[in-house]
Amino acid sequence: MEVIFLLIAISLVLAVSFLLLFFRANKGGQFDDNHTPAIRILFDNEHKQKVKKDQPKKT
């Protein structure tokens, strides 16, 4: 049963490191804007290199 002491220690260290990560994320502004990233992720990433096309794109 003594192994529980070790497990408790590990679990606390783990939990504290998550807390510290949260602090860092909060300080870094990750929670400042929780709307735009949701839209941004839906944009297509591919962007054609600047090649001038003669025909404009059809809609």
Binding site: A15, L19, F43, K53, P56, T59
Partner: protein
């Protein structure tokens, strides 16, 4: 795909979606409403960014009304201005953050984040959609600030740069700190619950004695961050209120925290018992949660603007006959400025040109532009109507007639001082009764067993901890704030709701608030007016100062007058003139002895007759908002309503007829008069809500009990106030008032609910029967049920008032 056949479907601009009625430009098989829109499309298609049009339909803004002055951004070349706008700069790159009110859809985000494909000088850009801000990194040798701003405005996304931005930028980061405190409390609370769980199920016998004490010591360890970090704000607030010899809600909370902590330490270290550390953790976690809920702010809105936000950032100055664009901060007395049509006068000036018209509606509320002749003083804040003029600066922008208002004392003090919220009144009573019950229990038990006496004393303090009590206000008000926000009334903080509920007087500004200047229109019916008749009309209306004459004068536009043979004004009836032997009359139906027969328009008709023959008549729409009548009528049943106006009193009779609910009319009010009027109301003990719009109301909004600024466009300027109301929601002001009043009842009811919990808890505590398990169940149960009760009941009331909406639109 969207517009298969432009001949059947009405042509809509490919860029902004406006119908192309006036002008239709075909370009690459697409319709555009104006050159501006076409230009934006060209830039985008050249750079292969037409994806912009595929993310959302008609993503652009109409470019029709855009000022196209090439040099208007010249002031951005000034290194001092640049220094104030940038966030970061090194040898190679510079970072800027701009506020762009036009950001409104996914396409906007996409385009603004792809700026680097249009101009190589942009390294990257990132949009914050909610705050409508974009952060742009540019490389120094490829792009300058001015070029960047020109690029943005050529795409239709002109950043808003105003004087107050040039001041200090940093905003307090208080909310982030509260979130950190909440995270700590949540972390400690969760872990403590784990270690305390065996206790609840009486499983301690199964475990070693060792485990028991280790768990207890771990709980002590975890409680330290709670007591010494998460709860610090409560200590400060309680201490501050005690110093002022007052008891606020935080005093009993701090009493509870200290009692819980010390008693648990004593239990754990002396008696080897479990203590109440988990309850302490839960308490702080729920309290901070409520605090964050109440702190909800409308990040995009600014409630504390002063005049600086209104004034232009740059002005055009004449120096040795050359024009130069300089920042307003550099204007000094004696400079010669060039002001163009629709531009704001930045400082008190003297006119150098022959004459001009200045619209002071923003400053005084007077709708009709004032004529200024050479050598006369023009006050800052007026807007020029007509051709550009030159003027020389008399006073620096910070000392003008308008800005003087801000030196008034009422801008110095904050409104919240001196106000006792309901919760604080209750907590004073609460603290006293809890303390007396605790002492009574101590005295009662000390006759038999002093040990139980102490336990009962502490137990009462612990269990009576006003967790539920402290949460009823923030959750009720927080939810109300959100419901108001969805209905487009944005309040500065939750305290405003309580003040709204208490108010008994409504004060409306006239121009722009009860009336909508854009709605005031004028139509002419009858024979077409020849140039000659127009010129005669012009000469007649110029003679009179009646508002209807002024409106007709504006409608006629700038045409030349005749020298009339004679003219006479019959006050309140009309004008009679003679010209080349003919008699002309302009006035009401009675005056001209004609009957048009439109009963509903009585008082708004102006007939024009020549030799008693009706030529035609003008129909003048009153500019009253369409909801104004019903709003005033509904409010008048509960409140006194006053009207303040900077306008002349000519409309008194008409307004009295239309708005019978208004008990007092005050006309010719200068901004200072308005402020003084609100001050008088205050000294007479009435609690007044001021609804106003322009800068001229700024003083009154500040001095009132609750100041609400009305605006047509939320992201536009509005004076400093307690709340900002979207003009579209003007009609539901009575509902807002009724709702804020019912909110108060909800708070009272939830107080009653938490009192019941306290009575149950205390009845156990005085008997010395309190156990950690009992505590761990009662405390979260009371908190959660109070939160549920307040949230549900506010939503139900909102639904009854018709204010319940899932989403704002």
């Amino acid at each position: 795909m969207r517009r298969e056949n432009p001949n059947i479907v009405e042509a809509k601009c490919y860029h902004c979606g406006e119908s192309c009625e006036d002008e239709r430009i075909r370009f690459e098989e697409k319709d555009f409403c104006c050159q501006g829109c076409k230009l934006v499309y060209e830039v985008l298609s050249e750079n292969d960014l037409c994806n912009y049009y595929q993310i959302e339909e008609f993503p652009g803004e109409s470019q029709k009304a855009k000022s196209a002055r090439a040099n208007r951004f010249d002031y951005l070349n000034d290194p001092e201005i640049e220094q104030k706008l940038l966030d970061f700069k090194n040898e190679t790159e510079t970072h800027y953050t701009f506020h762009i009110p036009l950001i409104h859809c996914a396409s906007c985000i996409w385009l603004l984040e792809n700026l680097n494909h249009i101009n190589q000088g942009v390294i990257s850009s990132r949009v914050d959609f909610v705050k409508k801000k974009v952060q742009i990194r540019i490389s120094n040798d490829r792009l300058s600030l001015k070029e960047l701003v020109v690029l943005l405005s050529s795409l239709g996304y002109e950043p808003r740069i105003n004087l107050s931005d040039l001041g200090k930028k940093e905003r307090p980061k208080a909310d982030k700190k509260t979130i950190n405190r909440l995270a700590v409390a949540g972390f400690c609370f969760g872990n403590m619950m784990l270690f305390s769980l065996p206790e609840y199920f009486s499983e301690r016998e199964l475990l070693d004695e060792n485990f028991q004490s280790v768990f207890n010591y771990l709980n002590v360890l975890l409680s330290l961050p709670i007591v010494f970090y998460a709860a610090v704000d409560y200590y400060n607030s309680a201490w501050n209120s005690l110093k002022r010899k007052k008891i606020n809600m935080d005093v009993p909370i701090v009493m509870g925290i200290i009692a819980l902590f010390l008693y648990s330490l004593w239990e754990i270290f002396i008696h080897q018992e479990a203590g109440y550390m988990d309850s302490l953790g839960g308490l702080l976690f729920f309290l901070l949660l409520g605090k964050i809920y109440q702190q909800k702010t409308f990040a995009t809105l600014e409630f504390d603007r002063d005049y600086k936000a209104y004034f232009p950032v740059s002005v055009t100055r004449f120096k040795k006959d050359t024009e130069e664009v300089i920042p307003l901060t550099k204007v000094s007395v004696g400079d010669i400025l060039l002001v163009r049509d629709e531009e704001l006068i930045p400082a008190d000036c003297i006119l150098l040109d022959n004459q001009c018209y200045i619209d002071y509606s923003f400053v005084t509320g007077e709708e009709v532009p004032v004529k200024i002749s050479k050598g006369e003083l023009i006050y800052a804040g007026g807007r020029l109507k007509g051709d550009q003029v030159k003027m020389t600066v008399q006073k620096s922008p910070s000392q003008g007639y308008l800005t003087d208002l801000w030196n008034n004392d009422s801008f110095e003090k904050s409104k919240d001082s001196g106000l006792v919220p309901l919760s604080n009144k209750i907590s004073a009573v609460f603290t006293r009764s809890v303390l007396s019950i605790a002492f009574a229990a101590l005295i009662f038990w000390s006759f038999t067993d002093f040990g139980i006496g102490v336990k009962a004393f502490v137990s009462v303090l612990i269990v009576a901890c006003p967790c539920a009590l402290a949460m009823s206000t923030p959750f009720t008000l927080g939810n109300t704030l959100r419901i108001f926000g969805r209905n487009r009334l944005y309040l500065k903080n939750a305290g405003v709701i309580e003040r709204m509920a208490e108010s008994d007087t409504f004060v409306f500004d006239k121009t722009g608030t009860l009336t909508d200047t854009a709605k005031a229109s004028i139509q002419y019916h009858g024979e077409e007016l020849s140039i000659q008749s127009r010129r005669i009309l012009k000469s007649m209306v110029e003679y009179s100062t009646h508002p209807l004459s002024n409106r007709i004068n504006q409608w006629l536009g700038p045409i030349e007058k005749f020298g009339l043979d004679s003219i006479e004004e019959k006050r309140g009836k009309g004008l009679e003139a003679r010209f080349l032997g003919q008699q002309f009359r302009l006035g009401s139906e009675e005056f001209t002895e004609k009957v048009i027969g439109k009963e509903s328009l009585k008082g708004n008709l102006v007939c024009f007759t020549v030799e008693d023959i009706l030529i035609g008549y003008f129909e003048i729409q009153s500019g009253l908002r369409k909801e104004a009548e019903s709003v005033v009528e509904e409010l008048s049943q509960e409140c006194e309503i006053h009207l303040l106006s900077g306008d002349h009193s000519h409309e008194r009779k008409k307004l009295k007829e239309k708005l019978p609910g208004i008990s007092e009319f005050h006309f010719n009010q200068s901004p200072k008069d308005k402020l003084n009027h609100m001050g008088e109301l205050k000294t007479h003990g009435s609690k007044s809500i001021m609804v106003g719009d322009g800068l001229n109301d700024a003083g009154a909004l500040q001095e009132s009990y609750v100041g609400i600024a009305l605006t047509d466009e939320i992201s536009h300027f509005s004076p400093a106030s307690d709340g900002i109301l979207d003009a579209r929601s003007f009609g539901i002001i009575p509902q807002f008032l009724a709702f804020s009043r019912s909110t108060k009842n909800v708070i009272k009811a939830s107080f009653a609910l938490s009192f019941i919990y306290n009575i149950v808890g205390i009845s156990f505590a005085v008997q010395g029967l309190l156990s950690p398990v009992f505590c761990a169940i009662l405390m979260p149960l009371s908190s959660i049920s109070v939160v549920l009760f307040t949230t549900l009941s506010t939503n139900v009331i909102a639904w009854k008032q018709g204010l319940f909406k899932i989403k704002s639109n």
